[in-house]
Symmetry: C2
Subunit: 322 residues, 2 copies
C-alpha cells in the first residue's frame, strides 16, 4: 500500500556505504513519490533508482541540520535542468526557505517551475496525492518534526459462498463483479453490490527527524503500521552522547514495543557502526539491541533498501531497483 | 612539481560515472592541497581518495553556478565534524560568501574553525603555501575566473665531471653535496657550492571556470605548463549551444596550440558524451576533435584521474589513490 525506499541512512557524515539522510515514500499506484529529507548527494542517489525528479510530488524536511537538507539546491536545480515544469511543494522549517531563496539569489539558479514553501511551524496538515499528512513535534537540538502519512484503501472482497450458491462460475465474471461491474450470466443479471463487501483500511507510516524522545510519538503511534526512526547509537554510546539529542536503538525499540507498532525501521546510523559485522561496533549491534526489547519486525536499513507495507499491514524488503 | 586530481568532471548534472566540478591541486611536498570548485558531492568523492579535509589549505571558486559550489556547505561542516580547527581561506565571488553565511545562519551549522572569505572580485593575487595565485577574468553567463597557480622550484644539479676530477667517489657524499652540505673525504674538505649548480624553474598551471572565450587566457597562457579548461561540447553541438557560454573542444585546443601550451586537460563534459566509446556522442569525440588541431599532450579527464606535472614540465597520468 506504500513503499519506503531509503536513499541515505548515515548520521551526520556520509560514508562510502551510506549517504546522509533522505527517504522516499512511494504511492501504491503510479510513479508518484515524496521525499522526506534531502541530505547532500540525494540527487546522485536517485541516479541509481527508478525514481524521477518529474514524479516527485512533494518534499518534507524534518529539521534544518545540513545532513538533512544540503542536497536541496542541487536536486531542485537539476530537476529544472531536466525539464520539470510542475510546481513543487516543500514543507520545511522556515530557515530552509530562507536558505533556498539565498541560493536562488546568490548562485543565479533559475527554476522553470514554481516552488511552494509551506512553513512546517504553521502546518496544520494537508493532503498530498493519496496521503493525508500531519506532523508531530520531536525533541532535538533544533526544532524537529515527524511526518505522519496516512492513506486509505478500500478493499473489495468477494462473497465466494454466495456466488457459488447463485451459480456464478468462478472466472472472469468474478473479477468483473469484484471490480464493481454488474454481469449477465445465462440470461440472469447479477448486481455486484450483492456479492462484494467493501472495507476501508487505513495505512499509517511515520517518518521522523532526529529525536531524543520517542514517547513524543505516543499519540501518533496509535494504529501506526510502520515507524521510521533514527537509532544513531547503541545504548552504551547513546547515554554518553545524550547532549546531541539523538536516540539509541533500545530506547526506540522499547517505545515501539509499548506502542504496539508492528514494524520498525531504524536509520540515521552513526558512522562508527560499520556494515561489516566482524567490526566492533557494527550495525548488527544496533539490530540485536533493538530485537532484545522489541517483538515486532525490525530492520536496520541500508541505502537503496526498499520496504513494502502490504495490504495486510506487513512490511517486507522488496528487490532493489538499482 | 604538482599534481592535479579531478574530483568531478561533468557539466551541470552529475552522472553515474562523473560528478559535477571539483579539482584538487596538490603540492609537490607534503599533504597540502587546494580545492578549485566544489560541486555537490565533493566531500563524498574525497572519501575515495587519500585527500583529507585537514590538509586542505584553501578553496577557490570560479563562479557562482551551483554545479561548482553546492558541495561547499557540506564539505565545510563535515571538516568541522571531523575536528578541523585550522582557519580556511575561500577565494570566491561575493555571492558565495553571502550564501554560506545564509547556511550558517539558517541551518545552524557551527564551524569550529575560522572561514576567511576573500572576494575574487577584489583579489589582486596572493601566496598560498608553495603557490603564488593570480586570477584571469573569463567570459560566461555570470562572472567567471581562472586561477593561475605558479610555483618556483630550485633544481640542484651536480657537476659530475668536476666531482670525478676532484676524486670525490660516487655515492652518499654526492648526495650530501647535492642537498647543500659540505663534506670531508680523506682529510680534504669539499664545499658544495663548488660542485652544485642551482637553477630556478617556474611551473604554471591554469585552472579555469566556465568560459566561452579561451583567448582571454592569452597573456596568462605564456609559459603555462598545463591548462585545465572546460570542453563542454564538440564543435557541432557547441555552436548550437553558444548562448550557454561554454567552449567546445576544438576551440580550446586551437587556443592552446596558438599559445604554445604543452599540456591540455579538458574537463566539464556535457553528460550527453558517454564514456562508452561505442555510444555516439562519446568522450572519444571530444578527444579526437581536440587532437585534430592540437599537437601537445591532451586528455579528456575522468573522475579520480590524477595527473602529475614533473620537473621537466611533462604531464602524465599517475596511478589513482582510490
Amino acid at each position: 500500500m506504500m513503499d519506503i525506499l531509503f536513499l541515505g541512512t548515515s548520521a551526520g557524515l556520509p560514508t562510502k556505504a551510506r549517504n546522509v539522510t533522505a527517504t522516499a515514500l512511494l504511492e501504491a499506484q503510479g510513479k508518484g513519490w515524496y521525499l522526506i529529507d534531502c541530505g547532500e548527494g540525494t540527487q546522485h542517489q536517485l541516479l541509481h533508482t527508478s525514481l524521477s525528479e518529474h514524479a516527485l510530488r512533494g518534499i518534507f524536511i524534518t529539521h534544518v541540520h545540513g545532513d538533512h537538507c544540503y542536497g536541496l539546491p542541487g536536486l531542485l536545480s537539476s530537476a529544472g535542468m531536466k525539464g520539470r515544469t510542475e510546481p513543487l511543494t516543500i514543507v520545511a522549517p522556515r530557515g530552509i526557505q530562507a536558505w533556498i531563496e539565498a541560493a536562488i539569489m546568490h548562485t543565479q539558479f533559475f527554476l522553470p517551475y514554481e516552488l511552494k514553501f509551506v512553513a512546517v511551524e504553521d502546518f496544520a496538515g494537508d493532503t498530498f496525492g493519496e496521503f493525508s499528512v500531519q506532523t508531530v513535534s520531536l525533541s532535538h537540538r533544533v526544532p524537529s518534526y515527524a511526518y505522519v502519512f496516512v492513506s486509505q484503501h478500500i478493499e473489495h472482497k468477494l462473497q465466494v459462498e454466495k456466488l457459488l450458491a447463485a451459480g456464478v462460475p468462478k472466472g472472469p465474471l468474478w473479477g468483473q463483479l469484484q471490480s464493481g461491474h454488474d454481469v449477465v450470466y445465462q440470461g440472469t443479471s447479477f448486481c455486484y453490490t450483492d456479492f462484494v463487501t467493501s472495507h476501508q483500511r487505513q495505512f499509517k507510516a511515520i517518518i521522523c527527524g532526529d529525536n531524543d524522545t520517542p514517547e513524543l510519538l505516543d499519540e501518533a503511534g496509535k494504529d501506526c503500521d510502520v515507524l521510521v526512526h533514527e537509532a544513531t547509537y547503541t545504548e552504551e554510546i547513546g547515554l554518553l552522547k545524550a547532549h546531541y539529542g539523538h536516540s539509541y536503538a533500545a530506547q526506540v525499540a522499547r517505545f515501539a514495543e509499548s506502542a504496539n507498532i508492528p514494524n520498525l525501521l531504524l536509520t540515521h546510523i552513526s558512522s562508527r557502526y560499520q556494515d561489516d559485522i566482524t567490526h566492533s561496533p557494527s550495525i548488527a549491534d544496533i539490530l540485536s539491541e533493538a530485537q532484545s526489547v522489541y517483538s515486532g519486525h525490525v530492520s536496520v536499513v541500508r541505502d537503496f533498501e526498499r520496504y513494502r507495507l502490504d495490504h495486510s499491514g506487513v512490511v517486507t524488503l522488496v528487490p532493489a531497483d538499482h
